[in-house]
């Protein structure tokens, strides 16, 4: 497994929506590359026949009944918002469109 490059960190930071300055990239890239190198060994040990565990205690079908519970008031919902307007959360201009 190839190590993590500075350009990878730059791309990943964009994907994770964290702005990074050149100094940030310099500082974090080296540390991240070392961490990636040390964790990459997980790929060596488990073969095809080993199932993945995504949940430590096996359970299934934990559902809730379709019954209405009280919602927050609009005031409570918006109380923590950096900015609100007309009962809605206000955000700066949106550039892209998503799925």
């Amino acid at each position: 497994m190839s190590s993590l490059e500075r350009s990878d960190v730059e791309r990943l930071a964009a994907l994770a929506r964290i702005d990074m300055t050149d100094e940030d990239l310099d500082r974090l890239s080296g540390q991240l590359a070392a961490i990636v190198d040390s964790v990459a060994k997980v790929a060596e040990v488990a073969g095809q026949d080993v199932p993945a565990t995504s949940h430590p205690i096996p359970m299934s079908n934990v559902h809730r009944p379709d019954e209405v519970r009280p919602s927050l008031t609009q005031e409570a919902a918006l109380a923590g918002a950096p900015e609100a307007e007309e009962g809605r959360f206000r955000v700066p201009q949106i550039l892209g469109e998503e799925a």
Binding site: N61, V62, P70, V91, A99
Partner: protein, 505 residues
């Protein structure tokens, strides 16, 4: 606008298309929390820590949504996976509260089905279904400033009432071989899905409110040379047109995209694989944001939720609750009701079938129900720019109206006035007849008095009648009807006139 018409594009290229339909389920609550799932509330009043994505909150699956998804999957002929899972689809967007959507990825609950759709001329086309999976809806952005669209807006406002509403996404396999009928097949497919979800009772199926939404992807490939198998010709690059939200728009979007792509291909230009947006006003599509690299959604199993493992017994029990396929039901109703092809098609296209059926169930004859829903009421809905089902008239009202006519209490003309009253919110037809005093005057003494008055006023006409010119009675009938404001039974009036004139009828 494209130069190429749809028909000539289809002559030169072989279209391949696929459709993703999102169905909003009509559960009482959202997919992962107990907030009400209702359309049209004040912004951010149907939200809680879970669907607002507040720190610390956790999702719990709505069991009714699972049941609805399985019933839908079974209706689409899908297999139901013994163990399926939710996964997170990670991307940042303001209307996505957690900045990931809980969806299903490599283990959808329903997979590999097929659906027969019946075209207008009765031809049956089979659509392969790849999967039907559960997920949650996003909130709604409103763009402020500019023209109200996203372009040029100064800022946006977000309402999360819709965030977390349960969806089932149905994905087709690539659909080949429809040729020039592609647009028609696409439309019929979405219409069939809509009819199925309504028949299942798992969604209101209202496309105008976004309860059923379609993304349509289309590509064109060269037609195979004579003798060559079309299947060996590789697919072209496809565009995906998002949020096509009416049946008519589905046809039009395919027409537009086929023309646009054919133009490019014939000019030797590449078709870009991209997302496009449909504009109802201009009947055209425009590209979405150009993405420098493909989105990387970093799907992984949702660690806050556990596998869905429906027992085989339960799945079979649900299979027993499935309604008739809409096409079959239509064929049966058409025969039962003795409708012509055109009558049936018009009723289907006007979304009146359920209303007619309910009116018949409430006691109206099929033809009477059809007459009212497709006549007077269709015109009113059109004038008011609403759907038939949004008018303040119920199938029960129609049955009641018709029985008032059949009992001779009112005539057709009065019935229209009664319906006006119902539409104005004055109550049921019987109540309107009562309050507006619309009943046919059947009291002979009242009619005799009116006849006597009219005869006295027109002695020359009386003389003509007595001379044997009975057709002259028409003038007196007219006068009496006028005097009773149309509430008299014209036949009975005529009898009384002849009686009073001493002429045998």
């Amino acid at each position: 606008m494209s130069n190429m018409t749809y028909d000539s594009a289809m002559e030169q290229f072989d279209p391949v298309f696929g459709i993703e339909v999102h169905v909003e389920l009509n559960t009482k609550t959202k997919m992962f929390c107990g907030c009400a799932n209702e359309f049209g509330a004040e912004p951010n009043t149907q939200v809680c820590p879970v669907c607002l994505g507040l720190p610390g909150s956790m999702p719990v699956v709505n069991d009714k949504a699972v049941e609805s998804a399985i019933r839908l999957g079974l209706s689409l002929g899908c297999d139901i996976r013994e163990s399926s899972r939710f996964a997170r689809k990670n991307y940042f967007y303001p209307d996505l509260a957690k900045d990931y959507q809980i969806s299903q990825y490599d283990e959808p609950t329903c997979f590999e089905g097929s659906l027969d759709v019946v075209l207008d001329d009765g031809e049956v086309f089979t659509i392969g279904i790849e999967r039907a999976h559960m997920e949650e809806d996003a909130g709604k952005n409103t763009h402020v400033g500019g023209t109200g669209g996203i372009q040029g807006a100064s800022h946006s406002l977000v309402d999360y009432n819709r965030g977390g509403v349960p969806l089932v996404e149905i994905v087709t396999h690539p659909i080949k071989g429809a040729g020039a009928r592609t647009a028609e097949v696409a439309r019929a497919y979405v219409a069939t899905i809509r009819d199925i979800v309504k028949a299942l009772g798992i969604s209101d199926g209202r496309m105008e409110q976004g309860s059923v939404r379609a993304d349509v992807n289309l590509s064109l490939r060269p037609k195979a040379a004579p003798g060559e198998d079309q299947d060996v010709v590789p697919f072209g690059k496809r565009s995906e047109t998002k949020n096509v939200n009416s049946l008519r728009a589905i046809e039009r979007a395919i027409h537009h995209e086929a023309g646009r792509q054919a133009d490019l291909l014939l000019a030797g230009k590449p078709v870009v694989q991209e997302t496009r947006h449909w504009h109802e006003d201009t009947n055209s599509t425009t590209p979405g944001r150009s993405k420098e690299e493909a989105e990387d959604y970093r799907y992984f199993p949702e660690p806050d939720l556990l596998p869905v493992e429906p027992s085989r017994e339960w799945v079979e029990e649900l299979r027993g609750t499935l309604p008739e396929h809409p096409a079959k039901m239509r064929a049966r109703l058409k025969e039962d009701w003795n409708f012509s092809d055109m009558e049936m098609r018009d009723a289907v296209n006007a979304d009146a079938l359920d209303l007619i059926l309910a009116s018949v169930d409430a006691g109206a004859t099929p033809q009477a129900a059809r007459k009212w829903w497709m006549g007077e009421l269709a015109r009113t809905a059109n004038d008011r720019e609403v759907s038939l089902c949004d008018l303040p008239v119920t199938p029960g009202h129609i049955a009641e109206l018709q029985s008032l006519i059949d009992d001779g209490k009112i005539n057709d003309k009065l019935a229209r006035q009664a319906l006006e009253g119902v539409l104005a919110g004055e109550g049921s037809p019987a109540q309107v007849v009562e309050s507006r005093g619309l009943e046919v005057v059947s009291d002979d003494s009242a009619l005799e008095a009116a006849v006597d008055e009219a005869l006295a006023a027109q002695p020359d006409v009386l003389a003509k009648i007595q001379d044997g010119k009975v057709q002259a009675a028409g003038a007196i009938v007219g006068a009496v009807m006028k005097a009773t404001r149309g509430q008299a039974d014209a036949g009975r009036v005529r009898e009384i006139i002849l009686q009073r004139a001493g002429v045998e009828g």
